[in-house]
Symmetry: C2
Subunit: 493 residues, 2 copies
């Protein structure tokens, strides 16, 4: 692939096109032959594997175990929880038959009308219903609680407008589904998992987030409360990066999941659910990357360090390789993932552009002069800065550099957000400033009507009612009615 083929639309010209170009050109994902369903290519999937490993460890440290529930859900299950069906039963893939047969009129195969299912099955858009139907048999006594289960799975929602990673018909995610003996314990779990997501986003994705609770109209269908973490992308739009739902007794009641409590009384079980998806790969890209390509935080980068030799002849390559192989061995022993790219069918310049595009955090290059001076050229992807460094203790240097890059990427995103978040008190000012691509903290009277009006006027929605920060009451910027605290508005993905 020639260099020019890799050039991206710049963010300032067309942010949306830049994102699309980057996902395709960095070979993260592409559209498939099935509308709205993506192919996650090996490099994109490697990022997801890193995310999975980190999250899975965090879930297990907080006492959860994994299990697997069926892909298909009987249609009638969706109707059992009144709000859930409104939210999820509409745009979904419906299995109606279980057999094809040779086409009697020609080539190919056709659906066999004799193989019609008695009850249609839905490809899970989320698994509360099938899981709570199962929990009914697992829960009799308070001694059976809590149940702390997570599932890694594919789900499907028939979205009309799709974008790679951000909104696809099929996506990969994890969904936690827990059952508890008390309301308090379930709420504690909901908040704990919001905290796990926030830690994951900030520590590993280097993406600062605002923790909050959703307004009623933005809640998960079937939840009493939805807790969210909201991140700012480089165009100032918000991206909901993980949600944790307190489901009350809604699913316990819908699926008749009761238990005998400590006092011998029958009670409905309390539920939570929480999920994070491949959408986070989209967030990762949009939060940090630049016009040269991906910028990946070292803790989630499939390749953390790449080493490129620059040589005039085979002899020189051999001398470079000898020195590089030692460095590679030492870095691997430190748990750092490193690739030595000595492929001879591509020029160093091509390789440099390629690894920049792919967001490898650190690139080393070693040439003839470096051999003489026992040095190596080090390029850090986040700042695109080069320096020549001694090979003595280079491994320690790289380790510290990776830590510094992780920290710098976070700080950069944090500073960007800090400079793009304001408080306003008048609706006129709100309407003007929302056009600048900002997060706006403003007072709201707490009604869905006012929320709807603001959305219709400005396309901005309430991202969350923040859990931290300014908690002072005030007056709604639209109606002047009392407001309990400022809430966070933004346009969103």
């Amino acid at each position: 692939m020639a260099k020019e083929l890799k050039e991206l639309t710049s963010r300032s010209v067309n942010y949306s096109q830049w994102y699309q170009d980057l996902v395709i050109k960095a070979e993260l994902a592409e559209n498939s032959a099935v509308r709205g369903c993506m192919v996650i290519r090996p490099y994109g999937y490697a990022i997801w594997e890193k995310m999975q490993r980190v999250l899975d460890d965090m879930f297990k440290e907080t006492g959860h175990v994994n299990a697997y529930f069926p892909l298909l859900i009987p249609k009638s299950f969706l109707s059992k929880e009144a709000q859930h069906v409104e939210g999820f039963a509409k745009e979904c893939a419906v299995v109606t038959h279980y057999r094809l047969k040779n086409n009697p009129d020609g080539a190919g195969v056709v659906v066999d009308p004799a193989a019609k299912l008695e009850e249609e099955l839905i490809i899970r858009p989320t698994s509360e219903t099938i899981i709570w139907n199962t929990y009914r048999n697992w829960i009799q006594s308070y001694r059976d609680l809590p149940i702390l289960i997570n599932q890694w799975a594919n789900v499907m929602r028939w979205e009309m407008r799709t974008r790679l990673f951000l909104r696809t018909a099929e996506f990969l995610w994890q969904e936690g589904h827990t059952a508890h003996a008390t309301r308090e314990e379930a709420i504690e779990e909901t908040l704990k998992m919001q905290g796990v997501y926030a830690t994951f986003a900030e520590k590993y994705m280097a993406m600062p987030v605002i923790k909050g609770v959703k307004s009623e109209s933005e809640r998960f269908a079937g939840a009493e409360d939805t807790y969210t973490i909201e991140a700012m992308m480089q165009d100032g739009k918000a991206l909901q990066a993980g949600t944790s739902h307190f489901l009350g007794q809604n699913f316990g009641k819908a699926f008749d999941v009761t238990f005998i409590d400590k006092n011998g009384k029958s009670e409905y079980a309390w539920a939570t659910s929480w999920g994070l998806s491949t959408r986070m790969i989209g967030a990762l890209i949009m939060c940090h990357s630049d016009d040269n390509g991906l910028v990946l935080p070292p803790l989630l980068a499939p390749i953390q360090v790449v080493i490129v030799p620059i040589y005039k002849n085979e002899e020189q390559l051999a001398a470079i390789s000898e020195r590089v192989n030692k460095i590679v061995k030492n870095l691997k022993a430190m748990g750092i993932s490193v690739k030595y790219d000595d492929a001879d069918n591509k020029k160093p310049g091509w390789k440099f552009a390629e690894y920049e595009l792919k967001g490898v955090p650190v690139r080393l290059a070693m040439g003839g002069r470096d051999l003489e001076h026992n040095t190596v050229e080090v390029m850090r992807r986040d700042k695109l800065e080069k320096e020549t460094v001694s090979c003595v203790k280079i491994e320690e240097y790289i380790k510290e550099l990776l830590d510094d890059i992780q920290q710098n990427i976070y700080q950069k995103a944090y500073d960007f957000r800090a400079s793009h978040i304001i408080s306003v008190d008048s609706y006129d000012e709100f309407k003007e400033r929302i056009e600048d691509g900002l997060f706006i903290l403003a007072h709201w009277d707490g009604t869905p009507e006012t929320e709807e009006l603001i959305k219709n006027d400005t396309k901005a929605t309430i991202r969350c009612i923040p859990l931290e920060g300014d908690k002072a009451p005030g007056k709604c910027m639209v109606t002047g009615k009392p407001s309990a605290q400022r809430v966070l508005f933004a346009r969103a993905y």
Copy 2:
């Protein structure tokens, strides 16, 4: 759960019922509300996670990367490879609609007839078609080859008669799909992956296997050759434990995947695919377990060591816990997974039965006398043998014991198979001896007709044409026609 609820049907009374009881009572899996689809419970899923980790590492060591392709496949794709459609298009889940709507005539939701798909979509029974349709765009030159991709995914085949793990409509698996520039390289890959499966089965599952190639009628639909590993269960039946297919250029041609070779000539790409599924959990159970419950090889056991305190009062428990906690810490540092079960609401006898049922390889019990003598009681699950051992260097002792159990389980399965495999030369003898639950090596004339006749007469099928062992030619036991070598017959799962 009372002890008697855990009692299993004995293997000698009803092997099939024993298996079913064990899967349910050890809480590995259960049937769901959706016909043929199972719920994999946390303990069963933990075994799958262990299998996944080992296999994934082996795949990566052999140069493969993971990716993800769509769940749904356009119906027309299945028809593109003539044999593939015969094998897979028949019993499959068909998505025909993408929306539900409120029932105009009453409660619940109904399929919206206005949301009918133009072309039906099939839930993947296997992914050759959608993947090779994608590879067409990835492959232009020999430089793009080989492509060495694996996918971890769920698949669905509408089986009429299902059994937990062994045959379910939905199951979890990995499917490798590789593309190569030459026939030789593709065959090498096929054999390499058969080797990986054999190593996994023997080293980790402690399950000896026979490597071979399938006869034409048992081949994967669309393959030129199917390589298999076949294992013997305790009832003498065979279980196909992993298959690796050389697909020739069949999918390259069906999906028009061509490349320019080193000589500038356009060629169709060569393909392999290989898969191993949650069926292996069924094999693991049926190969090693006994009338007391699961027997798990230490290398795949979710819990390798459990420690149970036996105490008269809180003070004694505290003294035991102090000593046990040191052992736990040391074992964990050695990478051994250990659980200290000091729950006070269950008796030691109940716990012993529970961990026997769950197949935990090593159980330690520490009581008052052990405290005095600085000893611990050690029970090994495979032999159900107990001994009292000094706590001095107990960690080393346990490490060696786990190795010994792994080896012993393998040897036991190996010896069982060795005593249940015979060679016969007359068809009368074959018909008699197949009733004894044996693997039989016999000569066959190589025709599907003779194979079919034997199957109809005896329910035995050709499991494989072994790659190793007796290669001498002979005469078919049925027709007397020439036979290239003995082939392996058995009744199979």
